[in-house]
């Protein structure tokens, strides 16, 4: 309960609060944004994918990159957990394996921001039913 004394106060409050509801706005047009899916099944969680996901979300926020991060079920690449699928608009979806905080940082800086392919891409070995 903070009294808003002038327009500047209002704008400041909005900026502070915006992150809380931004998630709901972003989900409205996911195909124009970078979509990141972090596998979150049992063996993924055991390999630390929750920490990876939290790291990715925080870093994207800090670097002001608009992206939608969701968790999915088992993608099948259990030997390479934690796995992350990255869909940059206009490009093919790519799956990365062994994504810890360091690897996530690389992916964000080099692939998402720079467009350069990074090591550790897992080649797709199955087709999804809606493709």
């Amino acid at each position: 309960m903070t009294k808003i004394k002038n327009l500047a106060d209002l704008r400041e409050l909005k900026d502070k609060l915006q992150s809380k509801t931004k998630l709901r706005d972003k989900s409205e047009s996911p195909d124009q944004l970078v979509q990141i899916k972090v596998a979150m099944a049992t063996c993924c969680i055991a390999s630390g994918s929750r920490e990876t996901m939290n790291y990715i979300v925080d870093e994207l926020d800090k670097r002001n990159i608009d992206a939608v991060v969701t968790q999915t079920g088992c993608m099948g690449y259990c030997y390479a957990e934690p796995t992350v699928e990255v869909i940059v608009p206009g490009k093919e979806p790519l799956v990365f394996g062994y994504v810890d905080a360091k690897r996530a940082d690389e992916i964000i800086e080099k692939y998402i921001k720079g467009g350069m392919l990074v090591e550790g891409i897992i080649p797709v070995n199955y087709k999804k039913i809606d493709q």
Binding site: M1, L7, L13, K14, Q18, L23, R24, S27, V68
Partner: protein
Amino acid sequence: MADYKIHLLVCGGTGCKSSESQILAEHLRSSIENQGLSDFAQVVGTGCFGFCEKGPIVKIIPDNTFYTQVKPEDAKEIVEEHIVKGRKVSRLLYKDPKSDKIVSDSKGMEFYKKQVRIALRNCGVIDPENIEEYIARDGYASLGKVLTTLTPEATIEIIKKSGIRGRGGAGFPTGLKWEITRQSPGKEKYVVCNADEGDPGAFMDRSILEGDPHSVIEAMAINGYCTGASNGLVYIRAEYPLAIERLKKAIEQAREYGLLGERILGTDFSFDINLRYGAGAFVCGEETALIHSMEGGRGEPTMKPPFPSVKGYLGKPTNVNNVETFASIPVIINKGYEWYSSIGTEKSKGTKVFALAGKVNNVGLIEVPMGITLREVIFEIGGGIKNGKKFKGVQIGGPSGGCLTYKHLDVPIDYESLIAAGAMMGSGGMIIMDEDDCMVDVAKYFLDFTVDESCGKCTPCRVGNKRMHELLNNITKGNGTKDDIDRLLNLGNVIKDTSLCMLGQSAPNPVLSIIENFREEYEAHIQEKKCPSGVCKALMVYEIVPENCVGCTACARACPVGAITGERKEVHRIDPALCIKCGACMDRCKFNAVIVN
């Protein structure tokens, strides 16, 4: 790291609330706590999603999963499967009735594809009881912009140029009304929000007040700045307890945060809002009757001119606008009049909220751009007619509107086109009818309502509508005569020309438009004494088919009035004089021997 990664939006509109959505939200919260995810996932109770047919609705952000008909017992499974393991609960996902396929992302739903949610922009997205969520989505930014950078005249120009027209039903240019109120002499002026919403089956205003009350508060403050009023009043019907509660909370929070009260946002502008409650009279939705009701008098309309903008509440200039009109104002200021006027048709700009009811698959609340056709609304957004039945008609505008048929399906929805087709926009109630609805009965139903709600002040409405009602009653009972149709037409036109207010003037509309579009049904009732849809009880005759009757006496025992006679193993007979057409005999008969003619 205080930001939640997953939001579970639970619909908290009255419809879903009565289906235990609040209990569901509680169960979701405790399941999340049990799993230790209280910092990760947030459960938010929002306003109405509009998809009322399939409520309670739960929407998971950011993957946009849309769960329908969720019960409190499902909460544990949703949390364990979807939130923890990332697996969607497929039995709760929405299934498209036409393709029979599961649509797991709400963006792919026919219901939402063609909607443009402007007045409903926050409904189903934010928690209406938390002003901070409203502020996070540009709330009160328009008020700030107006108070610090625009003059009242400049703001009114924006509203005028946007082309927005009153959404209460009359469609009067909103900007012009604000201008007239501003130009009316006097230091004491009032802003009134008409939240009476009397049309049966309409719940557009209710959903906006329950789901996004701050948008109305902000707009009223903007209006006060423009017209020179420092007092706002919301006239809300007492039958909306949830909307009243949320509005009260919102006003309190706005006061706490300094967005209502003295010297708002550091300027000289002071504005506050109070509530006034209706007491169940449809006529109090008419602005002059509403004003008299607030003054403590009987809700009776008075002659216009003078218009309320010149002489209204307590004799002072008063700007009366509908809830939905107000809800769109902040967005127009924020995004500009060019953006708003790019939506819609030449004379009808922007969007309109409709309450889809009746025999459609997707009953609920929608917001569509003006100019969309009836066909798109009923068959695409509405999902077509329930149970595969045939479309018969659509009533637009409630008890003041007219009934359109399949011939009008390609009529664009805008003020002028609907009037040309014989209906009217009204406040947004749309009731769809199929082959099993009797149109004469529908006309009688609407007239029932308006006769009840007539204030009685002027003779044409008080006496005329009552006589029309009697004529219709006789027709449905099989006592109509061949002059009745002409009598109805004559009477109806006289009432339209001579009644004091729009209640009386529009009460004959349903009757007249149904005669125009469904004359054959009237004639069947009058000349053949038959109801083609099998609705008018008095015209139905229950008979026993002698060939099928085995004389088991089951029907005679089921009959509550002893209208069936017959010996065991002999053909039974129904006495039409005693029969009350309850249908109990038909239900009991195992030999298909009872039929209705």
